[in-house]
């Protein structure tokens, strides 16, 4: 029993991180119908920028987290301006290809700057272990790390902030309008470029925060970490319903807990297969995901 609960605990921590990445994917797709393949790289860059700020300036952790978000978000705005905006009216395959190209460029640039080897993420504070068995005897052996609680807490906090922005602000309303009907919104005078840029800023900012949190959790970052995490977060977004914000969160937790259970009870080498198996099953039977709505093709 406690083994199972431990896997759940680990799953919740990892799921929080996937959620922070998945939100960016889903927001951009919701508005632009674009799968930003480069999104995983923003997560990776967040980790590296965070490590740099911690090591070079010795700033407190909470400050680093706050600073990383606009830095990575700003980079995303730049990328959107250069590589995606010119192709807004091009066939869908075009921005898909540039996204892949940008992803490769970002990955390689970081690899050249920081080296391909994993490097240690500066330890910002002592991690504390809480033995759940002390309060709930039936769960003896279950351990919750303070870092796990922090990740979960920070991720939830960020998601609440995002929700507030999307639901309660003017620009949030514009984002929702664009995702419902792009052309109608444009006709109604919504400042497309500004809203799109803001969406990228938010999405990449969250992913960057995820990168800092994961660096703190595993004490390690490497240039390739964005690839797999990005693909999995994307799967989570599709599972929950791509374009639907709460869906990204639900999908992330379902995915991460499934992974933790599979790895715990069987072979670790199948961990990555879970994500893709889920992806295929979802796409075959319910491509619009758990919370999404089917698209109707009009002739």
């Amino acid at each position: 029993m406690s083994e199972f609960v431990q896997y759940l605990v680990n799953g919740f921590a990892q799921g929080s991180i996937y959620a922070l990445i998945a939100l960016g994917y889903t927001m951009v797709y919701g508005i632009l119908k674009l799968i930003n393949f480069a999104h995983g790289e923003f997560y990776m860059i967040g980790g590296f920028v965070g490590a740099f700020l911690l090591a070079k300036f010795g700033l407190p952790f909470w400050l680093v987290l706050i600073l990383v978000m606009p830095i990575v978000g700003g980079l995303a705005v730049l990328v959107e301006r250069i590589a995606y905006r010119p192709l807004r009216n091009a066939p869908r395959i075009a921005p898909l290809i540039t996204a892949i190209g940008i992803s490769i460029m970002l990955l390689e640039a970081m690899r050249l700057i920081a080296g391909a080897q994993p490097r240690a993420f500066p330890q910002p504070f002592e991690d504390v272990i809480y033995e759940v068995g002390e309060w709930i005897p039936s769960l003896d052996g279950v351990i919750v790390q303070r870092s796990q609680m922090m990740i979960f807490g920070i991720a939830i906090a960020l998601m609440l902030v995002l929700n507030a922005i999307v639901m309660k602000t003017k620009i949030g309303r514009a984002m929702r309008a664009l995702s419902m009907d792009f052309d109608a919104s444009r006709l109604m005078g919504v400042a497309i470029d500004r809203v799109v840029a803001f969406t990228f800023l938010l999405g990449a900012g969250l992913a960057g925060a995820g990168g800092v949190l994961v660096g703190m959790y595993y004490n390690q970052i490497e240039p390739y970490m964005g690839q797999l995490a990005g693909l999995k977060a994307f799967t989570a977004a599709v599972l929950g319903g791509i374009g639907v914000i709460p869906g990204a969160v639900i999908g992330s937790f379902i995915l991460s807990i499934s992974e933790a259970l599979v790895v715990g009870y069987s072979e670790s080498s199948y961990r990555d297969a879970i994500a893709f198996a889920i992806l295929i099953v979802v796409l075959m039977f319910r491509p619009w995901g758990i919370l999404g709505k089917p698209e109707r093709i009009k002739v």
């Binding site: 083994e3 391909a116 994993p118 991690d127 272990i129 004490n219 715990g264 670790s268």
Partner: protein, 380 residues
């Protein structure tokens, strides 16, 4: 201007004189040359294996070339800790650089990928440090100067039961590594033969970073020792996470841990574990100390066992070259290599048996923040 009569002999005779002088000088100066292809992991997950081994090789090459009796021309290829790049590297060394002999690599999966190519091309390949038993099964052109995992696994099981008094063990293997799988197998066999019980078997994939699930599983089973025959990059991480998750049992591993990076990656989790290696720089044997001094002078740090094996592999090869009367033919070199007996190296006395493996002692190192201390020597 005065007219000078130009006679052919004016050119010819001084020319032939110079030519004959030159050629005789060259003949005297021409040393037997051996072109050696080297494939090692200079980058990637097991990068220190490559850089350390090559460091040792360079010390040996410099000593040999300076002595002047033969000349070794090395050609180095980085196999990036990947089996695919290992196969490509050896293909290139053999087909494009046309080397006489190939040295490498350290990780057994990488050597296993390249060995069939060398065997098919009839070019001798000597591995300095690949311990998985299958490596030399690729054919008679493949040999190694280190011990094999049958011996390593058995010795570690003996250490676990006799020294650590362990009755139960958990086994954690790297599913992507021939070495890890093979070593785990021989450990398990001997451990169970001695009455021990394996209470958990988990695995991870190379490049994995999160071991919380595996460690959780191990913690619930509560073994006396955790046998983790993997490579230093993952093991270092695992140790750090194990400490955080309050996993109490010590880790036990093989020569795959042998790297200065292990201490760095494990952080606080480095204390109290044990692993087997080919060599300890604390060995007081004068030959060993001479090598340690030479290595330290060049690289400003103590040599690891990989460096020592690199050094020995080159000297071993030079010795075989001499016994083949300095001829560079593949078949002759192969015969000379395979018949080596009692070659005295810094990692011990090397004699190749009929399977082209070496029977040598191993050392057990205990881990600590200072980089490890010598604990015990185990004779074959």
């Amino acid at each position: 201007m005065a007219k000078t009569t130009f006679k052919a002999s004016h050119i010819l005779s001084p020319l032939t004189l110079t030519a004959s002088l030159f050629s005789s000088a060259l003949a005297l100066a021409a040393v037997p040359t051996l072109k050696v292809g080297i494939f090692l992991s200079m980058s990637g997950g097991t990068a220190t294996f490559g850089t350390d081994t090559y460091g040792g090789m360079q010390v040996a090459i410099e000593e040999i070339n300076k002595a002047g009796k033969i000349k070794i021309v090395p050609v180095l290829e980085d196999e990036k800790s990947e089996p695919t790049d290992s196969a490509n590297a050896v293909k290139k060394l053999i087909n494009v650089d046309k080397v006489n002999v190939v040295l490498g690599s350290v990780a057994s999966s990488n050597t296993n990928a390249a060995a069939p190519i060398a065997q098919a091309a009839k070019v001798p390949l000597i591995s300095p440090a690949s311990t998985n038993v299958n490596v030399t099964k690729n054919g008679d052109y493949i040999s190694r100067i280190c011990f094999i995992d049958d011996f390593q696994g058995t010795s570690l099981a003996k250490f676990a039961t006799e020294e650590l008094k362990a009755k139960t063990a958990a086994v954690v293997t790297d599913s992507a590594s021939d070495y890890s799988q093979g070593l785990a197998k021989s450990f398990k066999a001997e451990f169970e033969k001695r009455g021990g019980k394996i209470v958990a078997e988990v695995s991870y994939a190379a490049k994995d970073q999160d071991f919380s699930s595996q460690l959780t599983r191990i913690r619930t089973r509560n073994p006396s020792v955790i046998f983790a025959p993997g490579y230093y990059t993952e093991i270092g991480n695992m140790m750090r996470q194990a400490k955080r998750l309050k996993v109490k049992a010590p880790f036990l591993g093989g020569d795959g841990w042998s790297s200065s990076k292990l201490t760095e990656l494990a952080g606080d989790g480095i204390e109290g574990h044990f692993y087997s290696a080919h060599f300890s720089h604390q060995d007081t044997d004068p030959k060993v100390q001479a090598f340690v001094t030479a290595y330290q002078a060049k690289f400003k740090s103590a040599p690891s066992d990989m460096a020592a094996l690199g050094y020995d592999s080159v000297k071993f090869l030079a010795d075989a070259f001499a016994r083949n009367k300095f001829k560079t033919d593949g078949a002759g070199l192969k015969a000379a290599i395979n018949s080596t007996a009692n070659f005295s190296g810094v990692t011990g006395n090397i004699t190749l048996d009929k399977d082209r493996n070496a029977t040598k002692p191993l050392v057990i190192i205990s881990t600590n923040k200072a980089g490890g201390s010598f604990k015990q020597r185990v004779q074959p």
